[in-house]
């Protein structure tokens, strides 16, 4: 269907393969009574994590944002396993975008110091300080990047996000029609 996809080593191919494998696993895990809202919600959470993880893995550790995503996901699953032993506590987290700034405890002290230093050093680019801060919260790992790296990582992150959306949309469309 999509001739661009035939390259097996492309980001799109790598992501698609990983994500499909994850979906198969999630599909296999569902219990007999699989249509309760709670079950569907848990499945939604797992699928979202699988999508983000698949993309980050496909990029591997070549990028700061992908490393940050993998670190975040791993430390969260470790925490969940340690505290409750059951994944049902996931439902208290409805967004993952805010966790970039709240869960990176290793970086927290460094972040506060760093951002105040960077704001002082940004006399040349004062007009961008506010937007840059906003961007830091959106791009995984953004809080520890200087402006140059932040803009570079952002470009790559956006390319990967659009690929992710493209593939997920295709899969969803494929199975809504059946």
């Amino acid at each position: 269907m999509d001739s661009q996809h035939l390259n097996p080593s492309s980001l799109k191919s790598r992501f698609t393969a990983r994500f499909l494998r994850a979906l198969i696993k999630i599909n296999a895990q569902k219990p007999i009574s699989s249509s309760s809202p709670r079950e569907i919600f848990q499945r939604y959470r797992r699928i979202k994590v699988a999508a983000d993880k698949s993309m980050a893995y496909s990029v591997r550790s070549r990028r700061t944002w992908s490393r940050a995503t993998l670190w975040k996901l791993r430390s969260r699953s470790r925490r969940l396993l340690a505290s409750s032993g059951r994944r049902s506590s996931i439902k208290t987290r409805t967004t993952t975008t805010t966790t970039a700034t709240t869960t990176s405890t290793n970086h927290r002290a460094a972040i506060v110091e760093k951002t105040s230093h960077e704001k002082e050093n940004k006399e040349d680019h004062v007009g961008l300080a506010v937007q840059a801060e906003e961007l830091r919260e959106l791009v995984p790992g953004g809080e520890s990047m200087d402006l140059c790296n932040l803009l570079d990582e952002t470009a790559h992150y956006i390319k990967c996000l659009t690929t992710q959306v493209q593939v997920m949309k295709k899969i969803a469309n494929l199975y809504s029609l059946e």
């Binding site: 269907m1 999509d2 698609t16 393969a17 499909l20 979906l23 198969i24 999630i26 599909n27 569902k30 699989s34 249509s35 569907i40 499945r43 939604y44 959470r45 699928i47 979202k48 999508a51 983000d52 975008t97 460094a110 110091e113 760093k114 230093h117 960077e118 050093n121 940004k122 040349d124 680019h125 007009g127 961008l128 937007q131 906003e134 961007l135 959106l138 791009v139 200087d146 402006l147 140059c148 803009l151 570079d152 952002t154 470009a155 992150y157 956006i158 390319k159 996000l161 659009t162 992710q164 959306v165 593939v167 997920m168 949309k169 295709k170 899969i171 969803a172 199975y175 809504s176 059946e178």
Partner: protein, 82 residues
């Protein structure tokens, strides 16, 4: 990472910054250069933030859709379709 390393951000030249901003602008379909020409860096970053939020929301929405239809999915023999 020591905070001293952040000083590299005030060494970034205007040219470097403009090049990075321009590259981001090309990723934004709504700020197509042929129609808008040069756009301020602040505006590009604003649009970039909105765009990222929109994409992340789309991922969320698509995850929801997939969780709904996972019931009826036959996930074997997939690759040929995609």
């Amino acid at each position: 990472m020591s905070s001293q390393r952040s000083t590299s951000s005030n060494k970034i030249t205007d040219d470097e910054l403009n090049a990075l901003i321009l590259r981001l602008q090309t990723l934004l379909p709504q700020l197509d250069q042929s129609r808008h020409g040069r756009v301020s860096a602040a505006k590009v970053l604003n649009e970039i933030c909105s765009y990222i939020r929109r994409l992340q929301k789309e991922v969320d929405g698509l995850s929801g859709r997939l969780s709904q239809c996972l019931d009826s999915m036959d996930l074997t023999g997939f690759d040929a379709e995609i």
